[in-house]
């Protein structure tokens, strides 16, 4: 298999006495949906924040295309092509859905200092924004202010903003949270279509969704990895069954 686009090796993060992420190793490969599951407090969101550069690791390394990265910052990860969504929708409330996506698309455009060029007439970003909205099915809602969108639409906007930056790696933090069955199905279909040429990390609680769409599953508990591998292997793993005793996987 091709080298991992984004890889974590022995990644650890401590908060005072608490070890939130304990020597976690993880590979994200192109063309793969890698799901990350675990109970609340297992360290999933912390791991995403580490990979996205929002938090600094206490120890361990993160590599992009085989090259280890030092001094990670969110903007640097994003420029490398690692896009992320947030667990709680983190959009620009006063802007419209379209403007949210356009601003996202403008993030990686060159010549930011070209102050005489109007942002509204920027064809590159307008096209990228329209395409991103269309992919998540929000085109009809482009003019609505982000604060006026329904919860499900806002989750969709989260993904659209991430897509507008044309990322190679997507780190998705519970994109299905609070969505109904139909909306969830649409998002899952979207994820399958996005898989080509990209690596996707999907943190989720919805087990049906995870097993329906994931190529690889990693299970975390108390900060460390319990098991990792193809869905069937994980489903039958003893440690996983013990941790999820009583839950139907």
């Amino acid at each position: 298999m091709a080298e991992a686009l984004l890889a974590a090796k022995e990644l650890t993060r401590r908060f005072g006495g608490l070890v939130a992420v304990d020597r976690v190793s993880l590979d994200l490969h192109r063309g793969e949906i890698h799901a990350l599951i675990g109970t609340n407090g297992a360290g999933k969101s912390t791991l995403i924040n580490l990979l996205a550069g929002e938090l600094a690791a206490s120890s361990g390394t993160i590599s992009f295309r085989g090259e280890a990265l030092a001094r990670l910052r969110p903007e640097r990860m994003a420029r490398l092509g690692v896009g992320r969504t947030f667990q709680r929708s983190n959009v620009f409330a006063e802007l419209s859905a379209f403007e949210n996506c356009r601003l996202a698309a403008q993030a990686r455009l060159p010549r930011a200092w070209a102050v005489h060029e109007s942002a509204q007439r920027c064809e590159t970003s307008n096209t990228a924004a329209a395409r991103a909205l269309d992919t998540v099915g929000l085109s009809p809602r482009g003019r609505a202010a982000a604060s006026e969108l329904s919860h499900g639409e806002r989750r969709g906007l989260e993904i659209a903003m991430c897509l507008a930056t044309d990322p190679h790696v997507l780190l998705l933090d519970e994109p299905l949270a609070g969505m109904g069955t139909e909306e969830s199905r649409q998002v899952l279909g979207l994820l399958r279509s996005l898989r080509d040429g990209r690596a996707i990390l999907l943190v989720e609680h919805d087990m049906d969704a995870v097993f329906a769409v994931a190529d690889v599953i990693t299970v975390m508990a108390d900060g460390s990895v319990l098991a990792s591998g193809p869905p069937e292997r994980v489903r039958n793993d003893q440690a996983v069954r013990a941790a999820y005793l009583g839950e139907t996987i």
Binding site: P74, F92, E94, L103, A107, A112, Q120
Partner: protein
Amino acid sequence: MSKARPGLLLLALFALVALPALTGKFYVELVAKIMIMAVFAMSLDLLVGVTGLVSLGHAAFFGLSGYMLVLAAPDKYAAVSLWTSLPLAVAASALLALVIGALALRTRGVYFIMVTLAFSQMVYFVFHDTRVAGGSDGTYLYTKPQTNIGSWATFDLANSTHFYYAMLVLLILSLAFLRILLASRFGHALRGIRSNEQRMRALGFNTYAYKLAAFTIAGAIAGLAGYFSAVQFGFVNPEMLSWHQSANVLLMVILGGMGNLIGAIVGAFALVLTQDLFSSLTKHWLLLMGGFVIAAVMLLPHGLTGGGLAWRNRLRGARGG
């Protein structure tokens, strides 16, 4: 843009153009002063209203520029050329803003407010405590800058009416420049930073660089205003750099409404006229001023022009694509 707005702006512009023909020297000089303050306020609006950076030390850049003008004269009575001394003064303010910004922007929120205040105090003390330009007494500008280009005598800064129209041109050009800036990708990014800086970084924007650029540009424009303020008064003293001056201009921005530049202009007019009114009423006019400040902030949180709200509505009216 709401329908009333362009019409009102044109009317205001017409009134400003016609003013010297309609009133005497006192009002011409007063309105010229207000227009200078309006440029100063717009520069702060770029920081506070657009980028969300509350600076309590903006007077440092205003005052430094005025001092540079006075210091640029080789001897007390010689006149400098506007065309060489103005770029020098503005560049000095921009450089100071770059240095202070580079350090201050390492902090956030409340720390940033206090740090900008403290840095501008440092600049204040440089001019207050040392022998540079007269210390706490200040220095006079004995001759206004010359505006000759070669042998062509363009206009006379010592003439009130010429000076007034020069300030009107300055105001219009500054407003135009800032409007273009705000409409660009750079300007949109600044607004994004104010709205949600964390998201901006997660999208790939180097927000520190954007904030520093905005801080420097704002400092340069403040320097532009400070230069002409020194020209008009013919006098510079450390009070130009004081935190009272910083609080004053901040008040103009919030009074007028933040984020749309016009608010800063409205705020400058409202505040200076109010100060003039109060000071003519009583010796203890600062008491009225204090009460006015408190009332204005409590009752008009969005300022006279509705500030942020107007921007939101305007954006909704202009769709991309």
